[in-house]
Symmetry: C2
């Protein structure tokens, strides 16, 4: 009698504020300063910030909406990355490669000023600047992270395949991404990361 | 020595205006009044509009960005649906079910006032109202079309899997969707469509 019919999800209206609040979604998660051990190059600056603000200081948060995890489903949400620096590095997310590495991800900037930092395992690096109304459709096979180079929260709307998953360890295992985004007067610049030892699949 | 490595696409920055213009994409296509034969219920009103405005009158247009069509790629773009009515029906897109029917699609409203009209083959119908900042993550298996119920262009940002494809014939073959969105004083209402004969897979 064939496979049972899968349940078809009910469409839900989402309300998305340029400040990153989203209603109609299913989940919010917070990333705190204490979760980001090892992310920034300047460990002394990280320890000093931890002493000053505490491990519970909010660094970024994500709202998302998930239906059942069918192969064709999309996860939609907002990411809000608070501004700041640790040493000379701008605030950033942990970053990831999708566990199914050919899965793309759309980021559309709702507010703030950020950079999408991108590496391929085989040696390419890019930095795409995002301001409100700009977007980047991150192709498959690109490790990517958001960096806030402005004074306000950097907020993006994102969507990606529900089966994509995230591999966060690939960056930590490599000593960080190939480049870092650091202060340059009032602006930002992309510099080589001397602690980067190559991604696992190229070692 | 194994499969050749696929080419990895280069990330491209997109600039998206709330009026629907998009730079950085690869394509624009226009849908003209003459292309929409059979879409509206009131054939006399359609013929009159055709006589008045001509077959080349622009009704809606789409910008999109496509990389290579890998299984994990996303197509990203904007849809701009011009306002108006044909008889008592508000301006609408042809609508589609994805050819791979479990593929979802995100629509995020950039400007204007619209309705996402949705049907499942097995009998469910929904109408999700969209104004700037609202979005709907259309789940797989939902036939969907945009309707402009406002006085200005209705503009959405969309993303969907590059392998999804579109089946437009499913609506035409069914005599239209299960409901129509018509004028109701200054507003809109959803009414049953008497010409709908059921979708092919349920007949």
């Amino acid at each position: 009698m064939g496979d049972p019919q899968p349940t078809i999800d009910q469409p839900v209206r989402l309300e998305i504020d340029p400040n990153g609040e989203m209603t109609g979604g299913s989940r919010r998660y917070d990333k705190l300063l204490g979760d980001l051990e090892g992310l920034y190059r300047d460990e002394d600056a990280y320890r000093a910030l931890l002493a000053e603000r505490g491990a519970d200081a909010l660094m970024y948060y994500v709202y998302d909406q998930r239906y059942q995890e069918g192969p064709g489903a999309l996860i939609v949400g907002t990411s809000t990355l608070l501004p700041g620096t640790v040493g000379d590095e701008y605030a950033m997310t942990r970053g990831h490669l999708h566990a199914i590495s050919d899965r793309a991800e759309l980021y559309y900037c709702l507010s703030g000023h950020g950079v999408m930092l991108l590496d391929t395992i085989d040696g390419r690096s890019e930095a795409v600047e995002l301001t409100p109304g700009a977007a980047v459709n991150v192709p498959g096979e690109w490790i990517h992270r958001s960096v806030n180079v402005g004074d306000e929260p950097f907020v993006t709307l994102f969507s990606y395949a529900a089966d994509a998953g995230q591999d966060y360890g690939i960056i930590a295992d490599a000593g960080g991404m190939r480049t870092r985004i650091v202060t340059d007067g009032d602006g930002w610049k992309q510099v080589p990361n001397p602690t980067h030892v190559g991604y696992a699949r190229e070692r």
